[in-house]
Symmetry: C2
Subunit: 330 residues, 2 copies
């Protein structure tokens, strides 16, 4: 049949090769087509719910932190702050501690406005307690916790830097609000800030606490908080105050060192005045500071001693916003 | 003889008692007089030499530091600075490294102006070398060394605070002058300060060295410096420069962390202009900075790698000079 072709081996080889390659190409096209049909369909951007695994959850537990924000009667501020905090670098997840008992969380609205950079979990509470935020939440996957009050705005720069400082001092409360106790000749302690006399260790002031309403600390301390004497919980519940002082006592007792490391914030703001709820924070109550002095003395008696230690270390970020922050006459 | 007396026992007893007590009193007076004669004579205040043990030498080796100050051709500045530094709290001793070869030290004048708060030892050198100050002086009794250039005045407040910071970071060079290296695409390093680009780790600047001409560090590093490769000594001698860069390499390699901790000085001054000698420091030489970049690259090749690490931690003293240094809008 192919005599005249067969006599010319090149041409015969040529056509056989051509047939072969044609068959191969057709088969490959069919396979490609089949594979294309098997590709998943591209979903549209608006997800009815954000249960899909965001890529940030692959961040190592050591390189990211969980924001825990307790909220009461200031949902407008909460949502404003969440828009800011959800985008902070190294944030792993947000846990909102919902102290608005009996009220629906804004989860539906939150989801309808997704997708969001990180998962946000609303933990509905049954009783409006100050210490609700100090539970050992199973949702916590990171070593670091960032705890923020629901009326406090700290810039991303400050948070990024403070997180890097926490990573160098992981056993301390690393935050933006320093406070101190002082002892008096009667042995009764008093709580306060710069307005109190400096503890007498040379010049300058000292602090012995860093408040947890704007601070990073190790998630292990939440676990340890569950193992405190009942009297500590009773004190916090009685005053609806002092959970942060109790945490400083816990950390100081655990480390034998000053509980906190103060990072001087470049941009920290209190948004209280901006709320529509008309609700202003607990610290406006007349008895607030007196309560806190009371708490210091009660905690000393519960822990049978004063574990808080003084520090005068103030940390700032070198060369930020610019090198003027470390210029000198040399 | 005493019949009429003896008949009256009271009167006899009285006189015998009187005699007895008189004798006792006279004997006591004689003894007292003898003791007084044996008391050491009170020396006048001007001691011909201050070899008497000052009370400060009882300070624990951990609670005090030794000032090491190398000097060349600026004896007027040296003496001015010594008057200031000799009185710094927690100072144990001063070691002056005398690089004025063949010239008498001011020891005689120093002694004639005593007493002094602490001992000052003048170490006469045989060759004028930059690295003379990095010997492991047998006079060193403290764990901490404060090294100062002979033209640098740092306030007592700054030194007291920086010493307390060193005690919390004893494996680091804790000082007042931060510098950095940067790498370039060619792999060649450059040395500099704020004028160089920020190393690309987020915002703000970073430093990778703290200069030892105004810093605290552990005396153990002087011992370790004696065990460095010969090439390091050759480099320092060739350039009469870079001993401080070499120390930062040593410390970074030893700790695996940033070598230094920068403490922002409140009051640091360069007294160069005040000298009568007309001599201004080495850093005025045209090639000074280029030499230091050269040293960085040579040290990388000697140590077979770049051990320096970056830090952006800047430490200040909380509430000093006053609380304005940590005030914020909250």
């Amino acid at each position: 049949r192919c005599f005249h072709f067969c006599k010319l081996p090149g041409r015969v080889m040529g056509i056989r090769l051509l047939r072969f390659t044609s068959v191969v190409i057709i088969v490959l096209l069919l396979v490609a087509g089949a594979l294309t049909a098997l590709l998943p369909t591209i979903k549209d951007d608006k997800l009815p719910n954000s249960r899909r695994e965001p890529k940030t959850q692959s961040q190592s537990a050591l390189d990211s932190f969980t924001l825990i924000m307790q909220t009461y009667n200031r949902t407008d501020l909460l949502l404003k702050l969440l828009n800011h905090y959800q985008a902070i670098p190294h944030l792993h997840k947000v846990i909102v501690v919902w102290n608005n008992i009996g009220e629906k969380t804004p989860e539906e609205m939150w989801n309808s406005l997704g997708p969001h950079p990180v998962p946000v979990v609303f933990k509905v509470q049954t009783v409006n307690r100050m210490r609700n935020r100090l539970q050992n939440f199973p949702d916590l996957e990171t070593k670091a916790v960032l705890m923020m009050d629901d009326d406090t705005l700290v810039s991303a720069h400050d948070l990024g830097f403070a997180f890097s400082v926490w990573q160098q001092f992981p056993e301390h409360i690393v935050g933006f609000v320093p406070r101190k106790h002082i002892s008096t000749p009667s042995g009764v302690y008093s709580y306060g800030s710069f307005e109190l006399q400096n503890p007498g260790f040379g010049n300058g002031d000292q602090y012995s606490m860093v408040l947890i309403g704007a601070a990073f600390f190790h998630s292990g301390y939440l676990e340890e908080f569950q193992r405190q004497p009942e009297a500590v919980y009773a004190l916090i519940d009685e005053t609806q105050n002092c959970d942060d002082i109790a945490m400083n006592f816990l950390v100081a007792k655990h480390t034998g060192k000053p509980s906190g490391v103060f990072v001087k914030p470049v941009d920290i703001r209190n948004l209280e005045k901006d709320t529509n709820s008309g609700y202003s924070g607990m610290w406006h109550r007349a008895e607030h500071l007196l309560q806190r002095s009371y708490c210091v003395n009660k905690l000393v008696s519960i822990y049978d001693g004063m574990p808080l230690k003084y520090s005068n270390i103030m940390i700032s970020q070198f060369g930020f916003p610019n090198y003027a922050n470390h210029k000198n006459k040399m």
